[in-house]
Symmetry: C2
Subunit: 494 residues, 2 copies
């Protein structure tokens, strides 16, 4: 019964959407659960049985079941089997969220935080941006290092982490940044945080008051928008051009307290901030007594062109705070990042970080310190760069047919995504939905815009999807874009 | 040379302060580093050599060196030895912090966050409150569980954690709370956070706007004060009596949006909120449309008296959010806690938590889920209760001689600390400093007060120190208090 139902769905999804097999099985099972065809508490056949009944490889079945377990649809009870969860999560649409929020009487801030610029939480399809391929992470090596540090552990390692983090990790980060990013930094300027979100909140909480203005790039990185909304800042949007953030004289009437930028690879346009723009920005910061938050997003992956000094490296005035994380080279769930602060901010930042966040995870910090010291980080980075370079080449080649007068690419020199610019008459949200129906995720550029209405396009990631998927789906993506453009050119403008 | 210097210091500290040996060696080494007698980059003799030269046990030497490494004074280079760090941290006084902060141009919020109600970060002496004895944590078992889940791991487990956390852990928490705390809760109401600080921030961000009022107990838990300061709330202090928070009619003119309480064991007075007070509080919340944040701090450790239902268990109206953490039964650096939310808040909270915090650590969440499911949590709790019950008895016996008309204890029925109340004429800060000179940490009750000036006393913890230390230092503590009280009674009041 079940296997017939699933088979029918799998075939249908194959015809309609051309999804990979594990994805079709995932969709079929999820559909059966959401429709109630599989009731809560029902036991699933074993993966062996399913793979026989459906004629699929065991790996395919396991991949689908794992994904559903992670998302909470299924429960694996050890020694007993896999069951449909009694509390199946419901996918939440933006409209439904807004309705719920009003009923639930969230605050104005809460309503905004839970309904605008929200990330989708299921991002498993090809071309999702903002995520790296952590499936290549050397789990066995990592486990060995963790074990070593757990074996050597003494009680203090189980306590909260003091003084900005485990000292050897702060030193390893400082060494890495000095060598690879020319950031002049000592270990005592490094604070280990739980990642960029926590670093951003800490900066906003300590350096700005409610109602102060933060300059943001427009279009912008959603995570940073959220952090500034949560801390009560007024967001002033400054348009980005092909040299990065491009402030005009008029912008300076909105006096900045903080300026948040992603100079290495602007998220999402991919623009690399030019050297003259970097100097201009530091000059503005100096004139207004503002702090610059340099999120050195994607700096690890540069494919062509000369490296540019970080803003922190150019800063003569101790106004730049430098943010990084390990999630792109190791894995996202690690939740360790760093914040490099000017020396004079060291003591208050460490004290407030301890009081506000009570940081911890020292055995993990110790394993990471050794991972870096022993050169594993550098080799993981090297391997990743090679692998991403190939994906990038493959994607660029696949996209070639759809480029031309009405479509061009920016931001492909660096990072794990590129931006395909389209004419402003194109409805990029509808195009992204069309692509989504085919089992790929691309994001409409306009969805990242804070105020401006003059740019349209697609943000296309090549970090997450394996090379095979890029080779298989790339041409389909290009073809979908081309035919959409052709159609919309024929449609008379209203 | 070095060993003679250290020996002299160790003897001196023994005479003057009566500290345990590892603590004296720690102080002696730290002093030598801060004085520059040990220069940055200097290699320390091996722990074997040090233990021979100083006539101390190897364990004593290792304990001191470990503590100094954790604090960043020393670096252990594998296969090479232990060196003095080139970036020795400097102890920060409150006055110095305030000065630095002004120079560094923190925001008003930042200045407050880094200078008032700050926790000391080095809390290794006996009688420190707010911390459990995590040295008894079963590290080997924990390592085994972690290993199992790392071996079974699939790439999705390395990603961020979606939908409020790893589903089996949310289910395990719900089961635990239903059984042990009579909180009526389903797994989909549980959100896994990085601990109470993150839970508090999330509640404040989603349920309150800048300038809204939060009622807090006076005296109050510093961590919560910080979270509300960071999120821009106005704090209204409501005095605590022996039945917990005691709001008067006048308080209700400061309309509450949030009410934050620690009903199981008020921090720091230790008062257990009476049942009638619980109903009164829920009634106030209903009348004003306020949310109650129930921090069920120390609920795990009840020694005498009947259990009282949690506020969440009494709530008919879906106004209570329930906060807990695993740091007291497992270890602080674990950084996993939970937030139980009314059903109608589920979707927006999960979405905003993902967007703001990008939670992770799924392999750790999986290990914890199994730790709970397999009954290890329950047995760790049982063992801990027995061990703390004995420490509590020993401390109470030791304190007996100093009790009387001018000193009485509250809050010893539950939790890991008690509160010794003293006459309002006593300078409890001076008394706490005097105790500190003898190598113990107790906190002055007045340091926790938000507005009131009518209570003095000492907050004395028995969770962190081993039984031996309590037996050894308890009488010294009692004697110090007694003689201080005797002296201050003789001193004529001015």
């Amino acid at each position: 019964m079940l296997s017939e139902l699933l088979l029918t769905e799998i075939v249908r999804l194959g015809t309609e959407k051309n999804l990979p097999l594990h994805r079709r099985l995932y969709e079929a099972l999820r559909g059966a659960i959401l429709d109630g065809k599989l009731g809560s508490g029902d036991r699933l056949p074993s993966s062996r049985e399913l793979s026989q009944d459906l004629g699929l490889s065991r790996n395919t079945v396991v991949a689908a079941i794992n994904q559903l377990s992670v998302e909470g649809y299924l429960i694996c009870r050890i020694g007993s089997g896999t069951y449909v969860n009694d509390t199946v999560p419901k996918p939440v649409t933006r409209r439904r969220l807004a309705r719920i929020s009003q009923i639930a009487r969230l605050s104005r801030r809460g309503l905004a935080l839970s309904t605008v610029y929200c990330a989708t939480q299921l991002e498993v399809q090809p071309f999702t941006s903002g995520i790296a391929d952590f499936s290549a992470f050397p789990v066995a090596l990592w486990q060995r290092l963790q074990n070593k540090h757990w074996r050597m552990t003494y009680p203090e390692m189980l306590d909260y982490s003091h003084m900005g983090g485990y000292a050897p990790l702060r030193r390893a980060v400082a060494d890495y940044l000095r060598v690879f990013r020319s950031v002049p930094v000592d270990a005592d300027q490094v604070i280990i945080t739980s990642g960029t979100q926590q670093s951003l909140e800490l900066c906003a909480q300590l350096l700005a008051d409610h109602g102060d203005t933060v300059w943001m790039e427009d279009p912008a990185y959603w995570g940073a928008v959220k952090a500034f909304m949560a801390t009560g800042l007024k967001i002033h949007a400054v348009p980005v051009d092909d040299q990065g953030i491009a402030p005009k004289a008029a912008d300076e009437t909105a006096l900045p307290k903080l300026i948040y930028v992603t100079p290495s690879h602007q998220y999402p346009t991919g623009a690399v901030m030019s050297l003259s723009r970097r100097h201009q920005l530091l000059d503005i910061a100096r004139r207004h007594g503002a702090w610059v938050l340099e999120d050195d997003y994607d700096s690890e992956f540069r494919f062509t062109g000369p490296p540019l000094s970080s803003l922190a490296g150019l800063d003569k005035d101790q106004r730049v705070l430098y943010l990084g994380s390990f999630s792109k080279v190791l894995y996202p769930g690690l939740k360790l990042g760093y914040l490099v602060i000017p020396r004079k901010l060291g003591d208050p930042f460490k004290q407030a970080h301890y009081d506000l966040n009570r940081p911890g995870q020292m055995p993990l910090q110790a394993a990471l310190a050794e991972f870096i010291e022993m050169g594993h980080f550098a080799s993981a980075l090297r391997r990743a760069r090679q692998s991403y370079a190939e994906r990038r080449r493959t994607l660029l080649a696949a996209l070639k047919p759809c480029l031309g007068s009405s479509a061009h690419i920016s931001g492909a020199e660096q990072g794990l995504h590129l931006c395909l610019h389209l004419p402003n008459t194109v409805n990029d949200q509808a195009l992204a939905s069309r692509v989504g129906e085919l089992g790929m995720i691309v994001r409409p550029l306009s969805a990242y815009c804070l105020e401006r209405k003059d740019i349209k396009g697609l943000v296309i990631g090549y970090g997450y999807a394996p090379l095979d998927d890029i080779a298989r789906y790339g041409p389909l993506l290009a073809q979908t874009i081309s035919s959409y453009l052709a159609r919309s050119e024929k449609t008379p403008k209203r």
